[in-house]
């Protein structure tokens, strides 16, 4: 927080604020990327509760993946977001207070493996199809659909890898891209 911390917009002052100052004081947080992994009860409304907490704090979730776990009563949520350390700490504590949240962990990048699946629909005719497929091979992607004027490729990896693939494929004419958002699991024997 900047020099305005705690005093912007008190109704007891008459100053008129300029937008730049408001932005500076409002806390646009940037910091390391966080992967939050949560075990939640598999019940309706849980996703809304979790998402609501983030929006209340003005946090933007970069990616969100939800799926079943080995226990049918529980679901796994994986979120990635940008954030300075302190507010993340506050959000994790608030998430802990949700009755339907069983466990939550802020995974350090070094102690976890993360993967994401992305589907790329690329414009490709008989002339360019070969080149696109070559790139796909380099990135260990799979061709999952082909038509006369397009090819669809599946790529799995970290978000860096997916972004790299996007860079090389874009010049061919990227029609559409769909990403799952990262999921992650801790390294070593112990459970995430």
């Amino acid at each position: 927080m900047g020099r305005f911390a705690g005093v912007m917009g008190e109704p007891g002052t008459k100053e008129v604020f300029n937008l730049a100052d408001l932005e500076a004081a409002g806390g646009i947080h940037t910091g390391r990327r966080h992967i939050l992994t949560m075990l939640v009860e598999n019940k309706p409304g849980v996703l809304a509760r979790v998402a609501g907490l983030f929006s209340r704090r003005g946090f933007n979730i970069d990616t969100l993946a939800v799926g079943p776990t080995d226990d049918p009563m529980l679901s796994r949520m994986t979120l990635t977001l940008d954030g300075a350390l302190h507010p993340i700490d506050q959000v994790t504590k608030q998430l802990h207070k949700l009755v339907n949240v069983i466990k939550i962990r802020d995974l350090e990048p070094a102690e976890a493996v993360a993967r994401e699946l992305a589907l790329f629909k690329v414009a490709a005719d008989s002339e360019t199809r070969g080149q696109v497929m070559q790139f796909a091979e380099i990135f260990r992607g799979n061709v999952i659909d082909v038509s006369k004027r397009s090819i669809t490729i599946e790529v799995t990896g970290t978000d860096d890898k997916i972004e790299a693939f996007e860079q090389v494929i874009r010049p061919f004419g990227l029609i559409e891209m769909v990403r799952t958002g990262e999921i992650a699991i801790s390294r070593g024997r112990s459970a995430t």
Binding site: V7, P11, E41, P44, A48, R49, K97
Partner: protein, 558 residues
């Protein structure tokens, strides 16, 4: 048995004797069960009134307050109440009717997504999807509402599910894997805290509403008196330490005493108990208590280091933690004389800056005097509720609360219009107490309809209106900070409160002379049934002292 009958059984198993509410289409089955269900139902005149009454009941007794409403508008009328209960951590359960399951999501008549609307303001909510879940849901709701940091729980019951036939079996255990409040407090941290207190030269104990919620007033007092620790309470904590007293500094915060605020400013150690460093306490956060280390005791881990970083955090229930801390502190056998210098400094402030006001030369009633008269007329022993505004601050300053659960107001949300329904709920919970609502003439009309409820249900609350013809606190801010451009604060016309009281079937009285005020208050209190006493006070009196918003405590004015 029908699911609604099971609801009644569960409520009785939870010890509920009274519910507040209003029926409607979607909770007709619940009201059918209430007809001969063995629980007192207080029919309110607005769901907001019912919700605040449930809060008043809970705040006065510590038991869970319950309010019922139908779907749609009934449920949305509870929203302010629920937000109020979550901000002040009030144990409450709200049971709303919902449209039939086949109508859900179709914009059916009186349909509103109340669990969605209230999601950010509940401690927890349960939307019933299977009638067999109902008994467990009710018990979970009560468990969550009253344990840990208390708060509101909403149960939304679709009308068709509520009339399903279920096989009811009493529930004896609630198991919530995702909800395990920490209550005991870490022994090592407590020992560390005791040592820090033993080493402190300028300590202050700063207690909040958590002490009241935990029923830990006696334990707090014991800790304060294990040495000569100066103690201050927040607006929500008043009554947590018996005032007045040698060690009592008065309330702190925006309209707290200079002594309490200056002591926080110069403290080297602040022991926060069940308090959350709200902006009305800290003033300018970056200049708050600049020399202090902080011990923070709270049952909610998310409060610790939220606004002010804690050096020694202790997560736990005040009732469990405080006796352990007192024991550890006593074992250190410190020398109380080390606090001599600190007390000299505090006494200087107390002598120089007592709470004061200029009394009128004539018969005019100063608002501060009105509270002093109230203290005298009630021997300082009444349950006092208030609305929100200047009168609330004056009541907090001048009525010296010496017992917990005797001061009931909306601290966190600052909801106008709560005074009367709070008093109504408090009176139901404590039928033998004198309950007085100190109302603002701006606030009172927001829930005045509950006078009917009080008259019909023989709930003998006394409403003392501090009538200055203004939305006084806003007027004060416009005077001080917005160049006296009085915008939208002059009430111009409020009803004739005496006639209004009579129209409701209550007694109405008017006071305009300070010479007879105490006697009139006594007369009102001795009158059976509800009374409105319209007290005309100075129109443009300001509430002082005051930390101007956004300023540090040392910049107090007035």
């Amino acid at each position: 048995m029908r699911a609604v009958d099971a609801i009644l059984e569960c409520l009785k198993a939870e010890g509920v004797d009274t519910v507040f509410g209003i029926p409607g289409g979607a909770n007709l089955p619940t009201y059918d069960a209430l007809y001969d269900g063995g629980i007192r139902h207080v029919l309110c005149r607005h769901e907001q009134g019912a919700g605040h009454a449930a809060e008043g009941y809970a705040r006065a007794s510590g038991r869970v307050g319950v309010a019922l409403a139908t779907s749609g508008p009934g449920a949305t009328n509870l929203v302010t109440t629920i937000a109020d209960a979550v901000m002040d951590s009030v144990p409450t359960v709200f049971i709303t009717g919902q449209v039939r399951t086949d109508l859900l999501g179709t914009d059916g008549f009186q349909e509103a997504d109340v669990s969605g609307i209230t999601m950010p303001i509940v401690k927890h909510s349960i939307m019933i999807q299977d009638p067999r879940e109902i008994p467990m849901a009710i018990h979970q709701a009560f468990h969550i509402a009253r344990t840990g940091r208390p708060g509101p729980v909403l149960i939304d019951v679709p009308q068709d599910l509520s009339r399903a036939e279920i096989n009811y079996e009493p529930v004896d255990e609630v198991n919530l894997p995702g909800y395990q409040p920490t209550v005991e407090g870490n022994a090592k941290q407590i020992r560390l805290a005791a040592k820090a207190m033993a080493n402190a030269r300028r300590p202050v104990i700063y207690a909040g509403g958590g002490v009241i919620n935990a029923d830990a007033a006696a334990e707090l007092t014991e800790l304060c008196r294990s040495d000569r620790f100066p103690v201050t309470c927040t607006l929500m904590g008043l009554g947590g330490y018996p005032a007045p007293d040698d060690q009592w500094l008065g309330m702190l915060g925006m309209h707290g005493t200079r002594t309490a605020n200056y002591a926080m400013d110069e403290a080297d150690l602040i022991v926060a108990v069940g308090a959350r460093f709200d902006d009305r306490i800290t003033g300018k956060l970056s200049e708050f208590a600049p020399r202090a280390k902080f011990i923070h005791i709270d049952v909610d881990p998310a409060e610790i280091s939220k606004n002010v970083p804690a050096h020694i955090p202790i997560v736990g229930d005040a009732k469990k933690v405080l006796p352990k801390l007192t024991r550890e502190y006593r074992a250190l056998e410190t020398d109380a004389s080390r606090l001599e210098g600190w007390w000299q400094r505090i006494h200087q402030w107390q002598d120089k800056h007592p709470l004061r006001y200029d009394d009128s030369e004539d018969s005019e009633i100063k608002p501060q005097y009105m509270i002093q008269a109230l203290y005298e007329a009630t021997n300082g022993d009444a349950i006092i509720t208030s609305d929100v505004g200047q009168h609330q601050m004056w009541a907090a300053q001048w009525y010296h609360f010496n017992k917990p659960r005797h001061w009931i107001n909306s601290g966190g949300l600052g909801t106008m219009g709560v005074g009367l329904p709070f008093a109504m709920g408090a009176q139901v919970a404590c039928p033998d107490k004198t309950v007085v609502a100190v109302a603002g003439d701006g606030s009172l009309q927001m829930n005045i309809q509950e006078m009917t409820t009080c008259v019909l249900d023989e709930i003998p609350v006394k409403v003392f209106v501090m009538n200055n013809g203004y939305l006084g606190m806003v007027r004060q801010w416009q005077e001080l900070f917005w160049d006296k451009r009085y915008s939208g604060v002059d009430m111009k016309m409020t009803p004739d409160w005496v006639k209004l009281a009579e129209a409701y079937g209550a007694k109405g009285m008017r006071a305009t002379d300070k010479g007879t005020l105490v006697d009139q208050m006594r007369e009102a209190i001795e009158t059976p049934g509800p009374v409105i006493l319209d007290v005309h006070v100075t129109k443009e009196e300001n509430c002082y002292p005051m930390i101007p918003a956004g300023q540090p405590a040392r910049e107090m004015v007035g």
